[in-house]
Symmetry: C2
Subunit: 446 residues, 2 copies
């Protein structure tokens, strides 16, 4: 009899139980609402792609982490490791039909067979949004606003407190490096600079010397510039004064300045968007504005929403040049951080109301009352068995229901119902059915 298969998940994969899945859905819904409110349209692409579509797009490490295999037709296939590469393939295939500019969001699972230390999972959800087919800085400005409104909306749901969107522009960085005579080494230098937050200045300077072969003094100059402090306008003015002669730097400064002006005019909260010349993003393909987003209460988790502008999304698949800008919310990572901060309510039911089952013959009445409340937008569960009331109270408490409706044949004969507030532990007897919706609405709040 012991032929049971052990019920277990793969290492690096997890089940989402209701108490975590309910906030995860709320987070998805919040992101969806914000993206849609800006006119980003949803798309979806398959989890599986031809391996050649995905290989080499995220570097050697990404290739190693790919879940790759041969399918039934002996095709070389792999699970997507991000949503950007499938979007590039998607854009190359459909842009003629879609037209430009094209604004899309995409929420989906991605898979990476990476080391599972530090609470990293091998399956996680990303929520990307991008505007492609335009070089207009209007799209860069809007990207900052979307991140701002997304974080503000998530804060209303999860109250994690202040956040800061740190922005920079690769043009500024590249202009600086040009002026320092280090343009050729920019790639290695920016990869090193990207590690500043985690590794610290000394380690980054050392990497610049080792990997980019610059002199220690040059590394220190770059770091001094990147770590420049001051208000947004002070930083912009200093860059302009010192490097304004460089066309790239001047262009980058101009675009950053416009972004700040537009964000302010649009009403983004003061102090939420901060220029930080040390924000580099390791990824090769960013060429303009870059964005990272940090929680004040938990800077250690790193950026929760990052992105940037790129010159050409889909050059591997089409000759049509598709510039764009966008960002990605690392949903599962963010959720794990909120969980760690104790900001995730442990409710196991989406229905605030439960109807107790006092007598099986009243089942029709229980479902009748429940449907009346559901039609008014109130979630209602009906307990399925006429078990002892103590057991039903226990169940309701465990699940997190807030109000119990208690009635049997006597109450239904009178058209009333007893209403127990499970939080306040107060009961109102004989509430007429016609008054239930109003009573529950006021008890449950908006």
């Amino acid at each position: 009899m012991s032929n049971l298969i052990q019920p277990r998940t793969l290492k690096g994969f997890r089940d989402y139980l209701p108490e975590l899945m309910i906030p995860r859905e709320r987070m998805l819904e919040t992101a969806r609402k914000v993206y849609r409110s800006y006119g980003f349209a949803p798309i979806d692409t398959p989890a599986l792609e031809y391996a050649e579509i995905l290989l080499g797009k995220g570097g050697a490490e990404s290739d190693r982490q790919l879940y790759r295999f041969r399918d039934h037709g002996d095709r070389d296939v792999a699970l997507r490791f991000d949503l950007t590469v499938p979007f590039a393939r998607f854009a190359a295939e459909h842009i003629g039909k879609l037209g430009t500019p094209f604004k899309r969001y995409h929420m989906g699972l991605v898979w990476r067979g990476e080391n599972t230390q530090h609470g990293r999972y091998r399956e996680f959800m990303q929520c990307d949004f991008d505007t492609i087919g335009t070089t207009a800085n209007a799209a860069d400005c809007e990207t900052a606003l979307v991140i701002h409104d997304l974080m503000a909306a998530l804060d209303r749901e999860f109250t994690f407190g202040a956040f800061e969107i740190r922005i920079n522009n690769r043009l500024v960085l590249n202009g600086l490096l040009e002026e320092l005579g280090l343009a050729e080494k920019s790639k290695a230098l920016l990869i090193a600079l990207d590690k500043l937050g985690k590794a610290g200045a000394d380690a980054v300077a050392q990497e610049m010397v080792d990997k980019a072969q610059v002199q220690a003094e040059q590394a220190r100059s770059i770091l001094a510039l990147a770590q420049m402090e001051g208000s947004n306008s002070e930083i912009l003015e200093r860059v302009e004064a010192e490097f304004g002669r460089n066309r790239k730097s001047a262009d980058g400064v101009q675009r950053l300045r416009e972004l700040l002006t537009v964000a302010k005019a649009a009403g983004a909260a003061d102090g939420r968007i901060k220029i930080d010349l040390s924000i580099a993003r390791g990824l090769d393909y960013y060429t303009g504005t870059i964005y990272e987003t940090f929680l004040q209460a938990m800077p250690g988790i790193g950026s929760v929403c990052s992105g940037g502008r790129y010159d050409n999304l889909a050059s591997l698949y089409t000759k049509q040049v598709l510039p764009g800008v966008g960002a990605s919310l690392g949903l599962d990572r963010f959720l794990a951080a909120l969980e760690e901060m104790g900001k995730v309510d442990k409710t196991a039911t989406p229905a605030p109301v439960i109807v107790f089952c006092m007598a099986m013959e009243c089942l029709g009445d229980y479902q009748r009352i429940a449907r009346m409340l559901r039609a008014a937008g109130i979630g209602v569960e009906v307990y399925p068995d006429a078990k002892k009331i103590g057991q039903q109270f226990q169940y309701a408490e465990r699940r997190g229901h807030r109000i119990a409706l208690i009635a049997g044949p006597a109450e239904f004969a009178k058209g009333v119902c007893n209403v127990k507030d499970l939080i306040a532990k107060e009961q109102r007897d004989n509430v007429p059915e016609g008054e239930l919706v109003e009573l529950l609405r006021s008890a449950l709040g908006p």
Copy 2:
């Protein structure tokens, strides 16, 4: 220069462009709302499982269709082919913590390497809901109500017209077969009977003779009973009269009768739930009530929402007996059917309003007005370039925006905006900004 990688999806997989993804999200949102309103809580499980968890659970065909491979740790893994088997594994693992009864919904992708004829895809989304840990008929009754409310809510979104939930109970069928002395052959007989809708009576009778080795006359009797016509109560009365002596049949009739009574008391629309003794469901594990759902306007696509009661969900993984009942909405198949019926609006944007870009220096004002409208719940896109207005009109028309806001420095100086209704082709000039929300709300409707 011709080293481009051909952008293409795998056979049997598809991209979802906005005009199909927008209704797909609406469908998901509708199902989520209905499930939640009944207190079903969301869960999620990994796309990848140990192959041993999935193998043998859906029969030989299902095993053959499995996307199965070795992962980086040389584990034998596979992509899930449905949501029921992962739920069984999930329940075995977590039921101690979750407690019973446990009501969950799960919306997720599943993968089957099946023949791609007849518009079948190898990746598709299922939306399951189940109540486990109780044998109470209350859960069976509620399952019918959930299907009813789900279909009614989907009809409000997509206006596909009438639907019919056909119910039966395996106890009734098994009781009938016992009385006919065919209990041992019930498995093969029910598999044959399940094909009645698609294959017709003659083919089913033949299969009963061939596969279940019954006599032609017996096959005809079974089919005559299964195809019994009449009102719900006529059918129940006839079964009771002819087979009421059989404990199983009597029990099944009793449960079906209670379901109809509860559905009626709860206010489910008349005529939506119909007893059909020929509904068998091919799957082995159903033991009680079974459900299938048909669209009157498109019976050919088969059941769009099916399920049933089972005695034990997770017997392969745990000794704890977990009876339950539930059903599954085949979302992508349903969506394909609605598309074919022309019931899917071809809108490519979730934002009804577009703000035209008349002058780049007004970008802050454009985003300010847009954010004001977004805060009022109105989706607004801002066109990113000061292109010719004709081009912006074309873009808006192509995307399906309904209203364009047109303003430049002169308008903003006066605090007004011109509002063009893109459907009615009417324009109202100089609308004060303070009146915009109200005007757009009444123009766009609820």
